[in-house]
Symmetry: C2
């Protein structure tokens, strides 16, 4: 079966569009998606892009918000600009994502935390956001967060971030299909096509 490794950072804006779209598109095309949360910020810092690629440039940020809203509308994705950007802390969220991938609930958890952030202004990574997302998939929040903070699971996130570093990733969402890197929500369709052809 064709497959894509989907690397993503919970604090990324455009990643919302992919998270909202990838399940249906991949199902339609019969491509299997491996959900791979990682920490983008350390990788950007190493490459001299410390505050993220957009933050230093006000015109680009203004454009990004407008572009996001237009792209969401074009794809029929519910969208409401959150009151906070970037989110203060996504470490616990990323650890939960990795735990979810190991236990089989990463996809639904991730769809939920992004949807809460981007449609209900329940800021991603906050307790409010994480508890609601975990409860809606039948997880006991305090238990899941405790497992997410186990030494073994912390190590799993580190090692996935290390994997992203080795692959040369510099943004989110990133897709690896048959050894090819695709970056950005607007390359999702191309990555799926690549996965099927190769």
């Amino acid at each position: 079966m064709s497959a894509i490794d989907f690397y993503f950072e919970y604090g990324s804006t455009y990643t919302y569009l992919t998270v909202a779209r990838i399940r249906a598109l991949a199902n339609l095309q019969g491509v299997k998606i491996a959900w791979k949360p990682f920490l983008l910020m350390p990788l950007l810092a190493e490459q001299g892009m410390i505050q993220g690629p957009f933050l230093p440039y006000p015109r680009k940020i203004d454009y990004m918000w407008r572009d996001l809203a237009r792209r969401a509308a074009e794809h029929g994705i519910p969208y409401s600009k959150p009151s906070l950007y970037p989110p203060k802390e996504t470490l616990t969220c990323a650890r939960l994502g990795v735990l979810g991938a190991r236990e089989g609930w990463c996809e639904q958890f991730t769809e939920n935390v992004f949807a809460l952030h981007w449609t209900e202004n329940r800021i991603i990574g906050t307790d409010d956001n994480l508890y609601a997302a975990l409860e809606s998939i039948g997880q006991v929040p305090a238990n899941a967060i405790e497992r997410a903070r186990s030494p073994e699971n912390k190590e799993a996130l580190k090692s996935q971030t290390e994997e992203a570093r080795r692959l040369g990733l510099f943004g989110s969402p990133s897709f690896v299909a048959a050894g090819e890197l695709f970056w950005g929500d607007d390359r999702l369709e191309q990555a799926l096509a690549w996965a099927k052809l190769n």
Copy 2:
């Protein structure tokens, strides 16, 4: 008739994809394109993006070349990576573009200089490149270059760059359709749709 202002910098890589595509797409959709060369570098410098958005980040540059080749293949556009990037000087080329827009030959001239650069490695902005592009559209190169360097035409390029600054442009290609800014070759279709609907 629907219309788009197409702002572009001759030294930009992804702009090649747009220059190779926009005429046919716009004709098909009945959208009128105003070709507007401007100088991107001063605008990037003002915004702290001095060397262009990609140059400082080797991973992003590597990715850009791969992405360009893949996008060109996807669109059926001839593509061969030029031996020099960025080009040394695009000022005369931009002045010729502005002159061409005033005299009615900007589109064909621009298609030619980009095609020579991106398929025959005749580096954009060099005499070799400009002379061939001008001759192929029936212009006498030395005469056209002299007109391009007239005070009036130099002023026209400055004033178009000033216009780009006022619009908040930070990249090439950029499209302005019914007051909306779209940035990047991968937003060309969306800009055309916007122009038709608004």
